[in-house]
């Protein structure tokens, strides 16, 4: 007699339970097997992004070990760098926005290797390559997280990276491509704007070729471009207030427009 799987309700329930459990177990096992590699990859990608952000080296010319070494020896404030709790370089650096009381984590890249036992001097501007502030906000679809690096006199951008986003690939997702990010590497003016103005303006390419605050928007991704402009300006304003309170903003805008 041929087996009929539709006859018994009990069979349907047991079959559904067994199939669900078997597939779920297979996925969990696969996930667990790959978890270590996934964590390593994510950390390495973040380290590459930081090296690229500060322009410490061309990441394509370095192996993984060299990238990790550069992050550990030249960047202060990156808590994920190494496992030594006494290492001063990985101690979190927090600024406080006096207007909102919000804490702003800061990364500082130096021109030379840092001593792991020496306290990090945030005011050593002669040896500081750039500061980086976290930028985050809601993009077209979901949250975008990244870092924006600025010169020690806080006048121009040094670079920008986006670590996490869910923008549409090929459209808003192009914020991670060099064509968009290189504009920040070339140096966009981020001096305090006139009242009501913006630190940076992301708009059509033809709209602001003479404007030192201008960044070309991404074609076909107005929503993402507008969102990035909004949260970068908000985070830059908070950072300027916090930097002034911490004595990092000495008022010498050497690259004022």
């Amino acid at each position: 007699m041929k087996f009929n799987p539709n006859k018994s309700p009990a069979y349907v329930i047991v079959f559904a339970a067994i199939v669900s459990a078997a597939f779920a177990a297979a996925i969990m096992a696969l996930h667990a097997a790959g978890a270590g590699a996934v964590r390593r990859n994510e950390r390495l990608m973040e380290e590459k992004a930081l090296v690229d952000l500060f322009g410490l080296a061309d990441v394509r010319s370095l192996n993984d070990g060299e990238i990790t070494r550069l992050v550990r020896t030249r960047i202060a404030g990156y808590a994920n760098a190494g496992d030594d709790p006494s290492d001063e370089r990985r101690r979190e650096i927090l600024l406080t926005d006096p207007q909102t009381g919000a804490k702003i984590p800061l990364l500082v890249a130096f021109r030379h290797d840092l001593d792991p036992r020496a306290k990090v001097d945030l005011h050593d501007k002669a040896n500081i390559l750039a500061y980086a502030l976290p930028i985050s906000g809601v993009g077209f679809w979901a949250r975008i997280d990244g870092w924006l690096a600025v010169t020690p006199d806080l006048s121009r951008t040094v670079g920008i990276v986006f670590l996490r986003h869910s923008e549409t690939p090929g459209l808003g997702g192009r914020i991670t491509e060099s064509e968009f990010r290189d504009q920040f590497r070339r140096g966009v003016s981020v001096t305090p704007p006139p009242d009501g103005g913006k630190f940076i303006e992301i708009s059509r390419a033809s709209a602001g070729q003479q404007n030192p605050r201008h960044v070309d928007a991404i074609t076909g991704a107005t929503g993402t471009s507008t969102a990035v402009e909004r949260f970068v300006n908000r985070d830059l304003a908070a950072f300027r207030r916090a930097a002034a309170a911490a004595g990092l903003d000495d008022g010498k805008d050497t690259h004022s427009p």
């Binding site: 349907v12 079959f15 559904a16 597939f23 790959g34 996934v38 990859n41």
Partner: protein, 224 residues
């Protein structure tokens, strides 16, 4: 029509999906993703590879289990099977191609909702032998892929002036630089509406070719 037909050889099952029953221009399945992912050829390639894996393996698994799956829970089981293979793609990308995963993670999840995958399980794998089902799933994915790659090529070249991210040389300048200098980027090709126009044109061309192929033997037969 191949759907529901038993005893198709694996070769025949694959060939039918590639052209006669092509998912894009015959069955009009998988159109959502074909509009979403085709402005960059490289992204499209990755999406097609992921879909080929998910469709062929899901069809194979569903066919192996077809005599035990109760009708009342068959859709649930099919979606479960598809989800497992899509998660395998996601984990494999995270482990072996982390940089690529960052760019296409949004697409990978979309494979679960691609109607071609569930469509082939329902229409073919649930009634046919495993090897034929595997070939049918792979054929459907390849048929989907060649249409999408054609659309993506047109959109990327006209929209960005590149081919698979690589510059196209026009002698002393690249097409991308020439477009930028002459403000000649065809912006709509980059945006989703551009996919409507290109896809519709491709479907028109493919159907015209298919119809010519059908009418030619008839004309020949009539003359004889």
């Amino acid at each position: 029509m191949a759907d529901g037909t038993n005893n198709l050889t694996p070769r025949k099952a694959m060939l039918v999906q590639l052209w006669d029953e092509n998912p894009i221009f015959r069955q009009v399945l998988g159109i959502c993703s074909s509009l979403a992912v085709t402005n960059r050829l490289f992204n499209t390639l990755l999406m097609c590879a992921g879909l080929a894996w998910a469709t062929s393996m899901s069809s194979l698994t569903a066919s192996l289990l077809r005599n035990w799956i109760p009708q009342r829970v068959r859709i649930m089981v099919s979606v479960l099977i598809i989800a497992v293979y899509v998660i395998v793609v996601d984990i494999a990308l995270r482990v072996f191609f982390a940089e690529i995963h960052k760019d296409i993670a949004a697409y990978v999840g979309l494979i679960v909702t691609n109607c071609i995958v569930l469509g082939r399980i329902e229409a073919f794998a649930s009634k046919n032998k495993p090897l034929a089902s595997l070939a049918d799933g792979l054929g459907a994915a390849l048929g989907y892929s060649f249409m999408l790659l054609a659309v993506a090529t047109v959109r990327e070249v006209l929209g960005f002036g590149t081919f698979c991210g690589l510059p196209i040389s026009l002698g002393s300048v690249t097409l991308k630089d020439w477009m930028a200098a002459h403000n000649a980027q065809w912006v709509i090709m980059v945006m989703p509406p551009g996919a409507f126009f290109v896809l519709a044109s491709m479907v028109w061309i493919a159907r015209a070719i298919a119809m010519r192929g059908q009418s030619a033997p008839e004309a020949k037969g009539g003359a004889a």
